[in-house]
């Protein structure tokens, strides 16, 4: 009898616990936003990595830069720096730092002081100075983005003027510098945290368990499954409205969509183009869209015949029906491109008249160039979906058909994605399909890495086109301090690109984010990051 009693009592206790746990978890879940992200971050350190997935999980929720992009635009706004001045020769930037900015804390670290100039110097010198004690701490790690952006050749040194003033001294006048400082790799770390971990004998921990100044604090990470953050109460920009932020890592786009539908997450990254129509019609969902900071293009290898002849390049520009491509490949979700930069970017030259679709004119130009019967060519097409091009193969087939009408016989060629890039960067192609998503909203970030003479070496310039007049203009633009003056120079540069036709600019695509209706205040970002600090959840 006694035994039975105990048993039933323990069963009751168990039930009670379960109910209590359920109630507690429901209460906790009230202010929780779940974001279905597309993959695992490579790590929790903003300086080491280069993928958007990692930035979304690390630098966006947990860190700040001196200056940042206003969400939704590429305008640069104050962040950890309240204001800044540029020296008249453009070779020095002085930042006045914000006071009272708190760092996060965790089990191993409680900050004893606010953010100050030492943190800026630490964060920068760690990347720039090869003799810095934290420069080569984690085996095999490199500061990829810092290297990629060529910062070594831009910044000479950083000076601490006082605790809340720093000066970046540049090697040359470089107007895009401010936009560079808003990029993820320029996130500010806590010097005190790294030194504390060093003293404790676990310096690597500082790169694994992030401490930043951002709106959310790190809670936990289960590899390939889930990242948890909580709102940082002392965030200088105001505590986020939601209490908890959860990234449910869901690699498959169909599964992400299913989770959004069932409410297992409230926001999803990268919807599949094929699902967009259904999403638009679903009353429980809201689909947001934004013109992408990108370009999808076809590049002619001007080092190879017959593309060394500008008439051939122009002819194929005339021979390509971009409107048809926009409809069939982009399903109308984009804009036909006539310049290398998208129209949302300042400096865009709208006066450039695009080559109209005109096969007769194309034939005429080909005949003038000595190819009255056309020629054979390999057309390389993208083997994967990219943000700037949803279907490379379909695009190639349309172009192949267009070109056939003027006698140019294109053979479609592709390789596995990494191999494709490697070969294209090595200049093995005749004609290659490629594209670009901008890093920082400065036109320099399109012209120099894609069409600059230096970029022929590294292979980012797939046309391998090096034009003195163009190069002089973009270099001058980078050294000109005032944006209005720079815009004029870029406008001229676009006229040269149009006339020389190293590319067929095809389209600027539109990006989409899908969310549930109860999500309030979500704004799509121009550089394709996902921000949740201003987001709120309405009662379902």
């Amino acid at each position: 009898m006694m035994k039975r009693f105990t048993k039933s009592r323990s069963a009751m206790a168990l039930t009670f616990c379960a109910v209590a746990a359920l109630a507690a978890s429901q209460a906790a879940a009230k202010g929780t936003l779940v974001y279905c992200s597309e993959g695992s971050p490579e790590g929790f350190q903003p300086q080491f990595f280069t993928t958007g997935t990692t930035f979304d999980a690390v630098s966006v929720p947990m860190f700040n830069r001196l200056v940042e992009f206003e969400i939704g635009t590429t305008n640069i706004v104050p962040a950890l720096a309240e204001s800044w001045t540029v020296a008249p020769d453009g070779k020095a930037y002085t930042f006045k730092l914000r006071k009272g900015v708190k760092f996060h804390s965790n089990a191993n670290f409680k900050p004893t002081r606010d953010f100050n100039a030492d943190d800026v110097l630490f964060s920068w010198n760690r990347m720039a100075d090869e003799h810095h004690p934290f420069h080569t701490m984690t085996a095999g790690q490199t500061f990829s983005y810092y290297d990629d952006m060529g910062m070594k050749n831009i910044v000479d040194r950083v000076d601490k003027i006082d605790d809340y003033t720093v000066r970046f001294v540049l090697k040359r006048s470089e107007a895009p510098f401010l936009a560079d400082m808003a990029m993820d790799f320029a996130s500010i770390l806590s010097k005190e945290y790294f030194e504390t971990m060093m003293k404790k004998g676990t310096p690597n921990a500082a790169d694994v368990y992030p401490i930043g100044t951002g709106p959310f604090e790190f809670v936990s990470y289960q590899k390939d499954a889930i990242i948890r953050y909580k709102a940082f109460d002392k965030y200088w920009g105001g505590r986020p409205k939601i209490d908890n932020l959860v990234y449910a890592i869901t690699r498959d786009a169909t599964a992400r969509y299913a989770k959004l539908k069932t409410g297992e997450c409230q926001v999803m990254a990268f919807p599949k183009p094929a699902d967009l129509d259904a999403m638009k019609q679903d009353p429980a969902l809201a689909l947001q869209q934004k013109e992408g900071l990108n370009i999808g293009y076809i590049a002619f290898n001007v080092e190879k015949k017959p593309f060394d002849d500008k008439r051939v390049r122009q002819a194929l520009n005339y021979a390509t029906n971009k409107e048809a491509i926009l409809k069939a490949v982009y399903q109308g979700n984009g804009k036909v491109a006539k310049n290398p930069i998208p129209p949302i970017l300042w400096g865009y030259n709208d006066a450039v008249q695009d080559y109209p679709y005109d096969p007769a004119k194309a034939k005429e130009l080909l005949a003038q160039a000595g190819h009255p019967n056309g020629f054979d060519v390999d057309l390389w097409y993208l083997p994967v979906t990219r943000p700037y091009n949803p279907d490379g193969k379909r695009m190639a087939e349309l172009i192949q058909a267009d070109w056939a009408k003027v006698g140019v016989r294109a053979k479609l060629v592709t390789y596995e994605w990494a191999e494709y890039r490697k070969r294209a960067k090595g200049g093995e192609h005749q004609v290659v399909m490629f594209g670009w998503s901008g890093d920082n909203g400065d036109p320099d970030n399109f012209f120099v890495p894609l069409l600059g003479c230096e970029a022929v070496k590294g292979g980012g310039n797939n046309a391998r086109w090096c034009n003195k007049a163009f190069e002089d203009l973009v270099i001058k633009a980078a050294q000109t301090p005032k944006q209005a003056d720079r815009a004029k120079l870029y406008e001229q540069a676009q006229v040269i690109v149009h006339d020389e036709a190293p590319w067929i600019p095809i389209a600027h695509s539109v990006r989409f984010d899908a969310l549930r209706k109860e999500v309030r205040g979500y704004k799509m970002d121009a550089t394709a990051h996902h921000y949740f600090d201003k987001v709120d959840l309405a009662a379902p």
Partner: protein, 335 residues
């Protein structure tokens, strides 16, 4: 018996070299390299490219790289992931329990449903029951896993809303990882809500992953049973007047199990490879998901180390299966 075990163990050495060589050769045969993977659309300065290749040890001739890799593995070091810079062995250890949990349930599901179905089909040979079991199992066997998994999600999760879409547990439960097996951890934490949530997350992946082994097991059981049922000793047992179920379960099934056990052993390899697709679709944080990503990012140490560890497990399981024969069938023990 000892000699038998030793002989089987000796076979592991050539298998080890075969597997490492294959894993190494295959991943290097795939075009592209990890350095290219770092750069995306952006060009990379040739000097920096060379420096990175050197850092990763990829500038050495392939045979030398292989020898160095083997040396490293024999010292028990599987290297570091080129993307996360975390140790391969540690990543595997973190993720493997999730795969074990899923594979265990999938196999249990396949056995619990497959064995009785196969017996039923054999006993009721050429009846509707037989045709139904065989028809369903053939369909299950021929179905691509990823398509089947998506169908399950769309029907049970999106249409009916009775199972979660993906993941291992609902986000509100933060169960501390002790064993890495979510169900066990939930029990250890004493959180029944978490346990139920983890269980409900297991349902669809278990069905998706268990379907092919289930089909194989039921077909194998049926044919083995048919063979045994014709044997003299079964007729003798019947003639003795034993109850029908006793003849089927004790006399026939036990003897029919020998080929079935072999097949079940082989299914473990299949479960681990099937897990790659299942885990990707159900966002199951196991080694399948991890390997796929490793291949995509040309993370050589992850792919090589992962394949090696999986091969090790498959070899071990097959060894156990071979030894199990002896238990099921005493004749093999003396052979």
């Amino acid at each position: 018996m000892l000699r038998f075990v030793l002989r089987r163990l000796a076979l592991i050495i050539p298998t080890f070299f075969g597997v490492t060589l294959l894993a190494f050769a295959l991943i290097h045969l795939i075009p592209g390299d990890p350095v290219e993977n770092l750069s995306g659309e952006r060009g990379m300065d040739p000097a920096r490219r060379a420096r990175l290749l050197h850092q990763f040890g990829l500038d050495q001739p392939l045979p030398l790289q292989y020898v160095r890799y083997i040396g490293q593995v024999l010292r028990g070091d599987l290297g570091e992931s080129l993307t996360t810079h975390d140790s391969v062995a540690r990543e595997f250890a973190t993720l493997f329990p999730a795969t074990v949990e899923l594979a265990f349930f999938a196999l249990a599901f396949a056995l619990v449903v497959g064995l009785p179905a196969g017996v039923l089909a054999a006993v009721k040979r050429n009846t509707v029951a037989d045709y139904a079991v065989m028809g369903v199992s053939l369909t299950g066997y021929s179905m691509p896993i990823f398509w089947w998994a998506l169908l399950l999600i769309l029907f049970f999760s999106v249409q009916l809303g009775i199972t979660p879409v993906s993941g291992r547990i609902a986000v509100q439960y933060d169960v501390p990882a002790v064993t890495g097996l979510m169900l066990v951890d939930a029990l250890l934490a004493g959180d029944m809500g978490a346990f139920r949530s983890a269980l409900s997350h297991l349902v669809l992946p278990t069905i998706a992953l268990g379907t092919i082994p289930l089909a194989v097991i039921s077909r194998m059981t049926r044919s083995a049973m048919l063979e045994v049922l014709r044997d003299d000793f079964v007729r003798a047992a019947r003639a003795k007047g034993l109850p029908r179920w006793r003849v089927i379960v004790v006399h026939a099934l036990r003897n029919a199990l020998i080929p079935v056990v072999t097949v079940v052993g082989l299914q473990v390899g299949l479960l681990l490879s099937g897990a790659i697709l299942t885990e990707t679709i159900f966002s199951w944080p196991g080694i399948g998901n991890w390997l796929i990503h490793g291949v995509q990012s040309r993370d050589y140490p992850v792919v090589q180390g992962g394949i090696l560890l999986i091969a090790g497990i498959v070899i071990a399981v097959n060894l156990v299966v071979d030894l199990l024969y002896g238990v099921v069938n005493p004749r093999i023990r003396h052979a």
